[in-house]
Point group: D2
Chain length 165, copies 4
């Protein structure tokens, strides 16, 4: 029998506020109008209302925007499990675009699959919601690095500093 999903215990009791503050610092999320709606241990959900500015000519959300919220949903899910003095960065991610992002809004769900001390592996799914019908439009698998003892910086790279996407 397959074991039940891991129940994650956050190291930082104030993880939710810390993650929401980090999200709020991301200008790019504000630019596209993304909202961090759910923050739980090892899980986050980002919502994005469809707007002309982020669409393709037929009104679907641009794939690059889909990738941005998938990457962030996974990265912030990892961030919920790190210590208060630890920031995270995206090492890499792999994204499959499986259907047009056709809906009034997108919902990106990120979850931690493996919480290692240095590296955390996450997955994300992005759904397009149209007339309350959910359509899976993208799936992602991602590697996140925890930068222990480094204050949050909302940019950087796997090589230096820390970042979310």
């Amino acid at each position: 029998m397959r074991p039940p999903p891991t129940q994650f215990q956050p190291h930082d009791p104030a993880y939710a506020e810390r993650v929401r503050t980090s999200f709020a610092r991301q200008q790019a999320m504000g630019l596209i109008g993304a909202e961090l709606v759910v923050v739980e241990p090892g899980f986050t959900e980002i919502h994005l209302a469809n707007r002309p500015e982020i669409t393709q000519q037929h009104g679907f959300v641009h794939g690059g925007i889909v990738g941005m919220i998938a990457d962030n949903a996974g990265g912030f899910a990892a961030n919920t499990l790190t210590a208060a003095d630890t920031s995270v960065l995206t090492v890499e991610y792999k994204l499959n675009l499986v259907a047009p992002a056709d809906g009034e809004r997108l919902v990106a769900r990120g979850e931690v699959v493996k919480p290692g001390r240095t590296l955390l592996v996450t997955r994300a799914e992005v759904f397009a919601v149209k007339d309350e019908q959910w359509t899976l439009c993208a799936v992602m698998q991602q590697t996140i690095m925890a930068m222990h003892g480094k204050k949050e910086r909302t940019h950087g790279s796997a090589q230096e500093g820390a970042r979310h996407s």
Copy 2:
């Protein structure tokens, strides 16, 4: 000995104009200020000037924006090799972020690695250019699908229609 890089022969003599027109249709590229600077058979180069709107708080370009131009550089490189009546879509891509996108501008280079009839495999590299010093900040490997006999639509997915990122 390793063979020399493939010399690509475009099927469509008007490939460059077709690809530039497709790029121009992408609102998202205009939104971030990206320019398609080089279009050659199996190769494209996209430039992006650093601007506050696309940065993180420390002035580096947001990783999600880096991914957008990497994805497009690869997708348009594939598009240079397709027939005039064929559009392309991103099936999937894998992106490693290897350094902060710290510079006055970014240069994304996409090249076709394997031009199959239905699927094309591409790679892209993104450099941050600061005081004319080039720093590699991201590398991507991508799968593109050719939609034969389908007119360009600048969105869609691997399942339906055609898209660039």
Copy 3:
């Protein structure tokens, strides 16, 4: 609310026998001693007993072997949903190795995430089972191509013919 997992309806009522026959043709699976234990619509499970021939010096299963059964679990999961005259091939996969493959046996589970007509996206997880304790040791995200009207060939590539890994 998140929608329930898709219930897959196989096109081929004899999908299970077809998939088991295809698996049996794979010499490499026999070489390493892998068994196809579960075959359901959109899902397969491959078991592999740990043996000295497939281990590293400390008795863990070699990562390359882990990748082989993950790739096959996803590919055969896709194959359960194709028509009787359709074979499948691995376009690409991305594998994260998250823990040593330390156990008496490995269990690889593959499931279809998005069943497109031409492309199917799958995921796989590989567990190491030791004293009936399950440890996740690898996760994979994969793109599979359906070759309609092509008889099974147990090799090939995304460009020509058909294959399982």
Copy 4:
């Protein structure tokens, strides 16, 4: 202008012997008959003669075997640049299979793209050589972790210990 490829300076003057010793420890490489032919700073080349034991029914090398040598070529390329007391492990890799592995032998070339202190990003290409004609059959992008101050162990995972594939 694009910068020239980085010239890598190995930290360990005895890198070649160290890497060859590590390769020799890998039973799985011996099992399939792979040879480490070229070892240079940031680059390795693995050759594999086609034999019935590693083929599919049509005589092509099994895709899982292709993945094993691609993963190893990238991992050992990274290992050439680490210190004498540092071992490496595969965090993850993404492999595109682009043509059948049809030839008398395969040649896998791995190169370091970004040598970070903790993480190294590599790429690999696998060619099938038939009548001295080279055909690209797979391309890989990979993340490798350097385990500083840890003696070589030829297995393990990104979470514990060290490994090559």
